[in-house]
């Protein structure tokens, strides 16, 4: 499967079949998840209706971290296996991850105002999330700055792999430093510390976000593959003229 898709034409063909299935599925899961989250789920006994911001904030934050790890793994596979689509996949994922990070920061600020009384605090997790956004921007800037695609892929890969050090720092910042942001309540020893009426819609929302990422990644990756083909054709044309 993995090697089968290494051929760009095959990848375009397979993803051309997959996309019309994946996109409506994503839309359907989104509708159901946010029906559960916004209509069915009860308001929190302490936070009231503002708890619903969490149904966007938590999936976006999880994906913001997850996409960066995805990029680093893709680049490692690119270095080790020389899979032609690995670097392209990482490049296609970066803007999506950056937008998830922005969504996480904005929804966090909107939630922080009524709950903590301020839009922004320089607490460990918020600061490290902000650093993650800077890492995404730096990564994308490298792709823009280097002209030759193979070289750009290598250098962007180094940036992504070095930057992944920040991910565990963000994940565990709430445990290492005693800060305002609450500690992990989903993935922790002893199971999730969330009431099932809230947990079920939350998991659906995370699934919806994950599907959204998959869909957008596929669209971006197809565009990337086509852009490379255009570049090849232009080079060939210039070569034949000269």
């Amino acid at each position: 499967m993995f090697n089968y898709l290494a051929n760009p034409s095959r990848f375009l063909k397979v993803s051309g079949y997959a996309l019309p299935v994946l996109a409506p599925l994503t839309a359907a899961v989104f509708l159901y998840a946010y029906y559960l989250a916004l209509v069915v789920a009860p308001p929190d006994y302490q936070q009231g209706e503002t708890v619903r911001i969490m149904f966007v904030h938590v999936p976006a934050s999880a994906l913001a971290l997850g996409v960066y790890v995805f990029m680093a793994i893709a680049h490692i596979l690119g270095f080790v296996l020389r899979h032609p689509l690995a670097d392209a996949a990482a490049r296609a994922a970066a803007p999506i991850g950056a937008v998830f990070t922005v969504i996480s920061l904005i929804t966090g600020a909107l939630w922080g105002k009524p709950m903590w009384g301020t839009y922004w605090v320089w607490d460990a997790r918020i600061t490290s999330m902000f650093i993650l956004l800077l890492l995404y921007l730096g990564y994308m800037a490298v792709w823009k700055a280097v002209d030759e695609p193979h070289r750009a892929a290598k250098i962007a890969g180094i940036v992504a792999i070095v930057g992944v050090i920040n991910v565990p720092i963000i994940k565990f910042s709430v445990e290492w430093w005693n800060t305002l942001h609450q500690p992990a309540s989903l993935l922790r020893p002893g199971g999730a510390a969330i009431a099932p009426e809230i947990l079920t819609p939350l998991l659906w929302c995370m699934g919806a976000f994950a599907l959204l990422f998959a869909t957008l990644l596929l669209i971006n990756l197809r565009a990337e593959v086509v852009a490379r083909r255009v570049r090849q054709m232009e080079l060939a044309r210039v070569g034949s003229v000269a």
Binding site: I131, L137, V142, A145, R151, I158, I161, V162
Partner: protein, 223 residues
Amino acid sequence: MTGALAALIARDVRLALRAGGGVGAALGFFLVVVVFFPLAIGPDQAFLRRIAPGAMWIALLLSVLLSADRIYTADFEDGSLEVMALGAAPLEVVALAKALAHWLTAGLPLAVLAPPLGLMLNLDITLLPGMIAAMLIGSLALSLLAAMGAAITVGLRKGGLLISLLILPLYIPLLIFGVSASGAQVGGASLASSAMAILGAIVLLAVVVAPLAAAAALRAHLR
């Protein structure tokens, strides 16, 4: 291999000392940035005392970053970098030597310059020894990361802007632990010794990771 390492360090230090605009520019920049803080914030002595360690660390970060560009640019342009890549010593050793030479000509003099500047900012004199130690240790990691950034951006248009976007996020842990190792009081209790230990851990990590990443980036550029 240690011979090559020493020879490269000696060469780079000599070049930085004798060619204009190297060490002196970084020191001058450090001075100017530190002077800006009292001008911008106001000359209130008690307040200056509180922000002094942070202000000096910010000045240190920026001066190291300013001089990062020179680590590889000249050698890349005149082709000496390719000679080094072809030499017997692995490129990782070259990258390590470059970073150490940068530390000797940027981090070390800046840390030595810190005491008089600290007095100008009304820094608590009892904090000075810890602060100098933290700056000496921390600037080693700063130089290693700066050299990594310089290797990643070597030969690129607008490399100078890109290097700050890439490296400043990685400087943030150093800034946080550097300032607390310099004896700044956080939450009433001094965390200086544990922060110093973490600073040392970051330096050790940087010694391992940065030359590897820098050498990989140089290989991609020289290919």
